[in-house]
């Protein structure tokens, strides 16, 4: 199962069992632009997929009534696979990083162009670092789970910016050496 929407939905069901419409609303609140839903039909498709893999199950008795609202909860298998998927994100990050470097290699005959791309890439990460908000002073009483979630996200982002800037600095040095070699050749 590769779709991040399916995994994100499974996470919401683990967090709190619910029915499709409520899940769609929570999905948009939680993931917003990070993982946009094309329409609510996307949720029904994902529920079908998760049910088919026995990662969720319908809660008995919730389909009754004039307006049936079947509720779903995660199975033990669903929780287990969700945790494995979370840890597996490290591999996703690695693939994304590799993709950039491999795609950049297409310009390797023109070190000047590579350096120009790197300059743009550096500027983009720098802007990202500046855009990151400063977390408000912690107020234990008002510190809701969503505020904590937001702080954790931003902190990870800021640290990622640092790692990227360091990598770019290293890559620039190496590329400058390569440019020297190409010129000499």
């Amino acid at each position: 199962m590769r779709s991040p929407v399916n995994w994100a939905l499974l996470g919401l069901i683990i967090e709190q069992p619910s029915y499709a419409y409520n899940l769609a609303q929570r999905f948009e609140r939680r993931y917003g632009e990070v993982l946009p839903l094309s329409n609510i039909g996307h949720i029904y498709t994902a529920l079908g997929m998760l049910g088919g893999r026995s990662l969720i199950t319908e809660i008995p008795g919730t389909r009754a009534g004039r307006q049936p609202k079947p509720h779903y909860r995660a199975t033990a298998l669903g929780v287990k696979e969700y945790r494995q998927w979370l840890v597996g994100q490290v591999g996703e990050d690695r693939r994304r990083n590799q993709l950039f470097v491999l795609a950049l290699a297409a310009l390797s005959n023109e070190p000047e162009q590579v350096l120009e791309v790197m300059a743009g890439y550096e500027q983009a990460w720098l802007s990202e670092g500046m855009r990151t908000p400063i977390a408000r002073v912690h107020d234990a009483a008002a510190d809701s789970a969503s505020a904590l979630l937001s702080r954790l996200t931003e902190e990870e982002n800021r640290l990622a910016v640092g790692a990227k800037l360091e990598w770019i600095e290293y890559a620039r040095q190496e590329l400058k050496k390569l440019r020297g070699l190409v010129r000499r050749a």
Binding site: L126, G129, E155, R158, V161, R172
Partner: protein, 240 residues
């Protein structure tokens, strides 16, 4: 005219391993109320840049101006007046409290002890370190030490503060309040030029710059808006 201007600044050091260029044709402008953050790796020259910008260290070439004055010839006079330089390393004298430390710059400028105490307390309060006034260096956390260092600088009422590594060594969770403090100082009209080796320090900066291999890179400051004289337009309309 910008409050701080660096044009074509060069700086090099010579040691046993030879000559090392730390600033290569560096240009930088900062206006009143700007929060400018320079990111760089270790030994990239970011602290040197700050010392040159604050007039503490002369460049080997180029021009550094503060409020239109050449810092190379006026540096000593401006440092501690219009320019404040804040380094995190605190060196209290034996038995000295944070309040004593914050008063040092004022007393060395012949401000009366009573006035110096009042200004230092005000500065400590401003940076959120009022509660540290009686503490000795050993009693301060790294975040509090940073605030006290900043209070010492702010007590002199500078227009520009060059602050070296404001979040270095500060616990991750204590960094945001310090960044927030710097942002608020800039919002009040103070020009803040900070260096950082950690990307956290870039948050909410008006301008972020990168210093690497002696070059200062990053988006240039926005060009001043072109002022079109209204009268000329009116005259043209009238003649048309």
């Amino acid at each position: 005219m910008s409050l701080l201007e660096l044009e074509g600044v060069h700086k090099r050091y010579t040691d046993k391993s030879g000559e090392r260029v730390v600033l290569r044709d560096v240009s930088l402008r900062a206006e009143a109320g700007d929060l400018v953050v320079v990111w760089g790796l270790r030994c990239s020259g970011r602290s040197t840049l700050l010392r040159v910008a604050a007039g503490i260290e002369p460049p080997d070439g180029g021009v550094v101006r503060f409020d239109g004055h050449d810092l190379i010839s006026h540096g000593e006079r401006l440092l501690g007046g219009g320019i404040g330089y804040c380094q995190k390393t605190l060196r209290f004298a034996d038995g000295q409290s944070a309040l004593d430390h914050a008063m040092v710059g004022l007393l060395s400028r012949w401000v009366s002890p009573t006035k110096a105490r009042s200004l230092a307390l005000e500065a400590l309060e401003r940076v959120g370190a009022g509660h540290c006034a009686r503490m000795t260096q050993r009693e301060l956390s790294s975040a509090e030490a940073m605030r006290v260092a900043l209070a010492r600088t702010l007590a002199l009422k500078p227009r520009l503060v060059a602050i070296d590594e404001p979040v270095k060594g500060v616990e991750l969770i204590d960094r945001d309040p310090i960044l927030s403090l710097l942002r608020s100082l800039a919002d009040e009209g103070l020009t803040v030029l900070a260096s950082t080796g950690e990307s956290t320090g870039l948050s909410q900066a008006d301008r972020g710059l990168i210093l690497g291999d002696g070059e200062l890179r990053g988006a240039p400051p926005p060009a001043p808006a072109t002022v079109v004289p209204l009268r000329r337009g009116i005259e043209r309309q009238a003649s048309g």
